[in-house]
């Protein structure tokens, strides 16, 4: 029996940093360059964003180009940015609806929610609550048609509806692409590859502007729903490839074993294949969801008043035309909060799932 030998004590963090920062002449030069860069940017930025900034509407008259940030524009126009053209008295509904989407997203990040039943129930109920809150017309809520939805609520609605519709579709497409029937397999492959070779914008544009020519009147529906369905198809084509990748990493023996036990096709898929495929593809799935959230901003081009467009409107008129940087920074911050936390969560999951695999 050999005594366990501990590795020799390593250098302390501070001395490692000192060596890395100043060890050789090259290190010193790089450190100096970094310090110069930081001195050049950071104090100026802090002065602009905090020290010289104007925070409230009352002092807005002091806002001048070339001085500090004019955050007063956010103070004055935050309702427009968050809620768009939604009726002013009903803004609480829009806020509550946003909160619902944030909540279901947080809950579906918890491992205890990760069963197909719970996840689908959560999202179907959540989106239903969102829809009732926003649309109204029942429970004594004033009806607000979708053309008056806007701001963050619209962004979140498009996002959650796309994910909700896109997921079952992605599973169907992934299964079709793996099908043993050659015609089904080829058609699914062709559809997926065709969609993926298009820019998202072109597909949304086609759904908004061109589809009315191609569909009979009773099928056209609202422009918002056409765009959401097209976006969901686009999401599904990317997500299908991710799920297919997850399925491919399951050893073939498992499906064969299930077959020899006499399980039917759907039993095999639901009990054996999909749970493992989801687990395998979780990091890429979160990545795809993050990308989808960012890409909802593209709908501004086809004339929706989501948070990007309401940002453009916030400085587009009247006394705030000079405050474009402040508004863009604020809107960027909104996106950043959502996207950054989701992607951090994805990175955490990836580490967590690697445990036992290394």
């Amino acid at each position: 029996m050999s005594a366990t030998m501990m590795p020799p004590p390593g250098a302390s963090l501070i001395s490692r940093w000192v060596v890395a920062l100043f060890g050789t002449w090259l290190d010193r030069a790089i450190t100096l360059a970094c310090v110069v860069l930081l001195i050049w940017i950071v104090p100026g930025f802090i002065d602009w964003a905090f020290v010289d900034a104007i925070w409230s509407v009352d002092e807005a008259a002091q806002c001048k180009p070339g001085r500090g940030a004019c955050w007063a524009v956010v103070d004055a126009r935050h309702r427009l940015i968050f809620f768009g053209l939604y009726p002013y008295d009903e803004h609480w509904r829009s806020a509550l609806a946003c909160l619902t989407v944030v909540l279901i997203t947080i809950v579906s990040c918890l491992p205890s929610a990760w069963t197909p039943k719970r996840l689908s129930a959560l999202w179907i109920v959540g989106v239903a609550v969102f829809y009732v809150l926003m649309r109204g017309g029942v429970f004594g809520l004033v009806e607000v048609t979708t053309d008056r939805w806007g701001g963050l609520a619209l962004t979140l609605f498009i996002f959650s509806a796309v994910v909700l519709l896109g997921f079952p579709l992605a599973i169907a497409l992934a299964l079709a692409r793996r099908s043993e029937l050659p015609v089904i397999r080829r058609m699914a492959a062709f559809f997926i590859d065709l969609t993926r070779s298009f820019p998202l914008l072109a597909i949304l544009f086609a759904a908004a502007v061109i589809l009315p020519f191609a569909l009979p009147g009773w099928l056209q529906g609202d422009k918002l729903y056409r765009v959401i369905v097209a976006f969901a198809f686009f999401f599904a084509c990317y997500q299908a490839e991710i799920i297919r990748g997850g399925m491919q990493s399951i050893p073939a023996g498992q499906e064969e074993a299930a077959k020899s036990l006499g399980l039917k096709y759907f039993q095999r898929i639901i009990l054996i294949v999909l749970p493992q495929a989801f687990r395998n593809s979780l990091p890429s799935t979160i990545n795809q969801v993050v990308i989808t959230f960012k890409e909802t901003s593209v709908v501004v081009i086809i004339g929706f008043f989501e948070v990007m467009a309401s940002g453009n409107a916030a400085f587009g008129s009247g006394e705030w035309t000079h405050a474009y940087v402040e508004v863009y920074v604020f809107v960027a911050l909104i996106y950043f909060v959502f996207v950054f936390s989701l992607s951090r969560y994805g990175a955490f999951l990836e580490r967590r799932m690697r445990v036992g695999l290394d």
């Binding site: 940093w17 890395a20 920062l21 290190d27 790089i30 450190t31 970094c34 310090v35 860069l37 930081l38 043993e180 029937l181 050659p182 015609v183 089904i184 058609m187 062709f190 590859d193 065709l194 993926r196 070779s197 298009f198 820019p199 998202l200 914008l201 072109a202 544009f205 086609a206 502007v209 061109i210 020519f213 191609a214 569909l215 009979p216 960012k294 890409e295 901003s297 593209v298 501004v300 081009i301 990007m308 940002g311 453009n312 474009y324 940087v325 863009y328 809107v331 960027a332 996106y335 950043f336 996207v339 950054f340 992607s343």
Partner: protein, 395 residues
């Protein structure tokens, strides 16, 4: 037993036939409805409209263009514009991305932190927001008289960004680009052939000799086509209220290019970092234990191994960024998509124009993915060819 098998087969055939029938019916009814609706508006299908004159102007064009020009010409211009801004942004995004990636794996903690902040900020903000932001900045720059000046040769003004340019016709730049791509592609093919034959890489196919070859060809073309008796490099000069000479990048172009470069370089930085991190540490430690200098370890062990993990996702990123040039429509840059959508508005030839746009993106993306797949095969270890492929234009 046999009847069961036949039943299953028959069932499978029935499923496939009905699925095919449904798809055919849906597609045919879509096309017929569109055709009828367009015919009701007096629009005849077919590509005859390409010969008609457009009657509308576009803000940016590489070729001469007037509103009396025909549709095929405006579509060609859109295609060239997409290619132009796409290649311009991809090259710079790759350069900056490589720097960011190297900064992120540097042993200097300060440099690492700066790289991380850059990546986390610009990767997590939608590209279109960045395009809007740079566009707002670009049109609020001071007028030419008070333009920001760098070394009396580069000017930033509200009329655009002005940089020195070579005094050669535009087509010769395109010619050089085509020749460079041809040289790289040939060398990649030769390289993977020699690899397959078991010959180690080197000599005339080393990266530096390929670069020298491209530089030689470029110099030759420039020397042949340059205007005699005029300076080779034209520097922009302020004349009255505008700049004369040099290359003018209009605000729409600079804003879209800036957003794609910044956003793309953050992503490419992560791809580069991931590639370097994916190299087995044992191999690097082994090389150092053999007494190889850090530069030699980097050049002959770390970089070649990292390249194998970098090329497939990098190719996908290129395809993605090429498709992202369609955001030009948001700020008024006349890329292929903007020109196609304007043409649809003006001429109503919906289906034909969509097909043409598809063809345009297919040509661009297919070229990128084939080139990157060629590169991937050329650098693959013999016997370890990965099945990682560049996709995005599979059809």
């Amino acid at each position: 037993m046999l009847t069961v098998l036949r039943d299953a087969k028959a069932r499978n055939n029935a499923i496939q036939a009905s699925a095919l029938a449904v798809v055919v019916v849906v597609v045919v009814s879509l096309v017929v409805t569109t055709h009828n609706n367009l015919a009701a508006q007096g629009i005849t299908s077919g590509f005859g409209f390409l010969q008609r004159t457009t009657g509308w102007d576009i803000p940016f064009s590489l070729l001469d263009y007037s509103i009396r020009d025909q549709y095929w010409r405006v579509l060609l211009i859109g295609f060239l514009n997409t290619l132009y801004i796409g290649l311009f942004s991809l090259v710079l995004a790759t350069v900056f991305g490589a720097l960011i990636g190297v900064a992120r794996i540097s042993r200097n903690p300060l440099l690492r932190i700066i790289g991380t902040i850059y990546v986390e900020i610009f990767r997590n903000i939608p590209l279109i927001l960045q395009a809007f932001f740079w566009y707002a900045i670009a049109i609020h720059l001071p007028p030419p008289r008070r333009a920001y000046e760098f070394g009396e040769s580069v000017y930033l003004s509200s009329r655009g960004v002005f940089i020195p340019s070579l005094n050669v016709p535009t087509w010769s730049i395109a010619l050089i680009a085509v020749l460079a791509v041809a040289i790289v592609a040939t060398s990649l093919v030769l390289r993977s052939r020699r690899r397959a034959a078991g010959v180690l890489v080197g000599g005339a196919l080393a990266p530096w000799s390929i670069a020298a070859m491209i530089a030689f060809v470029a110099a030759l073309v420039v020397l042949v086509v340059r205007e005699p008796n005029s300076p080779l490099l034209v520097v922009p000069v302020l004349k009255g209220l505008r700049f004369d000479g040099g290359l003018r990048m209009i605000p729409e172009f600079s804003a879209l290019a800036a957003s794609i470069i910044v956003f793309g370089s953050a992503y490419i930085g992560e791809i580069v970092r991931g590639g370097f991190n994916s190299v087995n540490r044992g191999q690097l430690e082994c090389a150092r234990a053999l007494g190889l200098k850090p530069w030699v370890v980097m050049r002959h062990i770390h970089l070649p191994l990292a390249m194998r993990a970098i090329v497939p996702p990098l190719g996908n990123m290129y395809v993605w960024l090429m498709k992202a040039t369609t955001l030009g429509i948001a700020i008024g840059f006349s890329d292929l998509f903007m020109i196609v959508s304007t043409s649809i508005n003006q001429s109503g030839q919906t289906i034909e124009l969509l097909l043409l746009m598809m063809a345009g993106f297919f040509v661009i993306n297919y070229s990128i993915s084939s080139l990157m797949n060629m590169l991937n095969r050329a650098i693959a270890l013999k016997g370890y060819e990965s099945d990682a492929k560049v996709s995005g234009a599979e059809i």
